[in-house]
């Protein structure tokens, strides 16, 4: 079966199913199950209204689609006084701010490349020095990126100390999440391999901070990635891992289920919550609607990117907890801090259909109630 970004289908492998806690606990069920009272009559079999109601409810509104809805700031240019002001704003943003930002970014890249390339090539023998310099340079270019959107970032909480066996997790809104966190302290991130110029950056510069790539569309990929994650987290000199357990970008108002991979590494989990201020710009990267380049351009022509970053208290797996429960507990901590509503969906449902298991569960419970009532004769 083919796979791709155009919403084409991949059969969801049974491995993915193991990640998910019981969705039936969250979905409006019980209405599909007829009350097990009394004899089975024709009207009980013909009355499909509960199932139809669920279907219509999903058509009218559903919690999954809500997670990926862009929320652009409210337009305020709607009357005679404000409209000229808004026009001035557009002129300033596009004709003054944008060129300045492009210049800033270009200068940043020139500085970065002219330092990075020599360091990368000449310091090949001196591993520790090379690593430290490359880390510092990546932090530098990230700061330039942030400056190019006039990023105003408020960091709260104690700055992470670099210790071994520590993994950082954060909610995911856009690829700029990584840039915002990287400018403060050097992380190794695990990312989907992208095509184009982003992919080029990934394979050259980000390699130096120790990034790991995965490919959503490859079924066997999960095992290799888990292995790489484990190796990296055990390594003493590696940058701490930054993982986005949602697995996809969500619109910063909801959080989807966390994948348990990060929570089974036997490391301390340090949650980070990121919340963007919607008034200035909608930082959600809707990958179904725009390319990353367009997204960056949109940020560079906005007034500012304002966000809050909270470094939260490190958590460990409790003795009576499964990794999935641990993941949910951490998701709860992050969602509460960042004001996100939790939904019980796997982010990968953006790219594939839900497993037939869920439908079968409904069918099974209905079938059982029919048979049970038939017995009651």
């Amino acid at each position: 079966m083919s796979s791709g970004k155009g919403g084409e289908l991949i059969p969801s492998s049974s491995e993915l199913d193991l990640d998910r806690p019981n969705i039936e606990d969250y979905l409006p069920s019980g209405s599909s199950i007829h009350e097990p009272l009394g004899k089975l009559r024709l009207c009980d079999l013909l009355d499909i209204s509960p199932t139809l109601t669920e279907a219509a409810g999903a058509i009218v509104d559903d919690s999954f689609t809500r997670c990926f809805k862009s929320n652009p700031p409210e337009p305020w240019n709607w009357n005679v006084y404000l409209f000229p002001l808004w026009c001035c704003g557009v002129v300033i943003r596009y004709l003054i701010l944008f060129p300045v930002r492009v210049i800033v970014l270009t200068v940043g890249w020139i500085i970065f490349l002219s330092c990075f390339i020599p360091v990368h090539l000449l310091l090949k023998g001196h591993d520790k020095l090379q690593k430290n310099m490359e880390r510092a340079l990546v932090e530098l270019i990230c700061s330039f990126f942030v400056a190019s959107w006039t990023g105003v970032i408020n960091y709260h909480g104690p700055r992470p100390s670099m210790r071994p066996k520590q993994v950082f997790v954060a909610n995911h809104t856009s690829m700029i999440d990584f840039i915002i966190l990287e400018q403060m302290s050097s992380f190794a991130v695990i990312m989907q391999k992208h095509p184009g110029w982003v992919g080029l950056l990934q394979s050259t510069i980000l390699e130096s901070v120790g990034c790991i790539w995965f490919n959503r569309t490859e079924a066997k990929d999960r095992e290799t990635v888990t292995k790489k994650l484990r190796e990296h987290s055990q390594g003493v000199d590696n940058n701490p891992l930054l993982i986005f357990p949602e697995g996809t970008c969500v619109n910063n108002q909801y959080s989807v289920m966390f994948k348990k991979g990060a929570f089974e590494l036997g490391c301390t989990i340090c949650p980070i919550a990121i919340k963007y201020n919607k008034i200035f710009v909608d930082a959600f990267w809707n990958s179904r609607k725009q390319s990353f380049t367009m997204h960056l351009l949109q940020l560079m022509t906005s007034w500012a990117v304002v966000c809050d970053v909270w470094y939260l208290e490190p958590q460990n797996l409790r003795p009576d907890e499964t990794p999935i429960e641990f993941a949910e507990r951490v998701r709860d901590i992050i969602s509460v801090r960042a004001g996100l509503k939790k939904v019980p969906w796997d982010g990968y449902l953006k790219y594939s259909r839900p497993s037939p298991k869920h439908r079968e569960r409904k069918q099974q419970s209905f079938a059982e109630s029919v048979l049970r009532r038939l017995e009651e004769n």
Binding site: G7, L27, L40, R41, L42, C43, D44, L45, L46, D47, I48, S49, T51, L52, T53, E54, A55, A56, G57, A58, I59, V60, D61, D62, S63, F64, T65, K69, R288, W345, L349, R353, P354, H358, R359, E360, K362, Q363, Q364, F366, A367, E368, V370, L371, L374
Partner: protein
């Protein structure tokens, strides 16, 4: 009504409201339009089966394929008319008519034994054997005064379902 414009005029709203027999308020129609545009990702003016199935809550529903046959290719006006059976303002008669249409897949106004068997199959999947399904259905049909060869029409459905307090309502979120 333009299919690419995302602005509904007052005239459009009234036309849709009339078409669905005032099942929804004007605010609800505006909300439904936003939802329709959200589902219709390629902007073709109708929501394709694929686009409906991209809503996981809909895809896991046992009757989704049946409903897709009824939903495929509907424009916004027809979409609202489709959903009108789920409005709190719809009468029990309208709700039963909708259920009848789900059963009557060939649209000839008659529901036969096999139609009911098919729906029961959708609802129970592999968890009841075909033989058992036939047995159960035959039994309850006979108890209700019908048999395997009966052709059920709308009035039969009203008789069977009309007294059981049908609850089939969906709330349209209005911002």
């Amino acid at each position: 009504m333009g299919n690419t414009s995302s602005m509904l005029t007052q005239y459009d709203i009234e036309e849709v409201q009339q078409h669905c027999n005032n099942a929804f308020s004007q605010q609800e129609i505006v909300s439904l339009y936003e939802r329709f545009c959200q589902l219709d990702r390629n902007g073709g003016g109708f929501v394709s089966g694929e686009e409906f199935l991209s809503v996981p809550e809909f895809a896991v529903n046992p009757l989704s394929q049946r409903l897709l046959r009824m939903l495929d290719g509907l424009n916004f006006k027809e979409f609202v008319a489709f959903l009108s059976a789920f409005s709190p303002r719809a009468t029990v008669q309208q709700k039963i008519e909708f259920i009848f249409k789900v059963y009557d897949s060939d649209g000839n106004g008659k529901v036969i034994f096999n139609d009911m068997l098919d729906v029961l199959h959708d609802l129970t999947g592999q968890f009841i054997s075909e033989q058992q399904r036939e047995q159960v259905l035959t039994k309850v049909l006979e108890e209700a005064g019908y048999n395997k060869e009966s052709l059920l029409v709308m009035s039969d459905f009203v008789k069977i379902l009309g007294s059981s307090g049908l609850k089939m309502e969906v709330e349209v979120p209005v911002d």
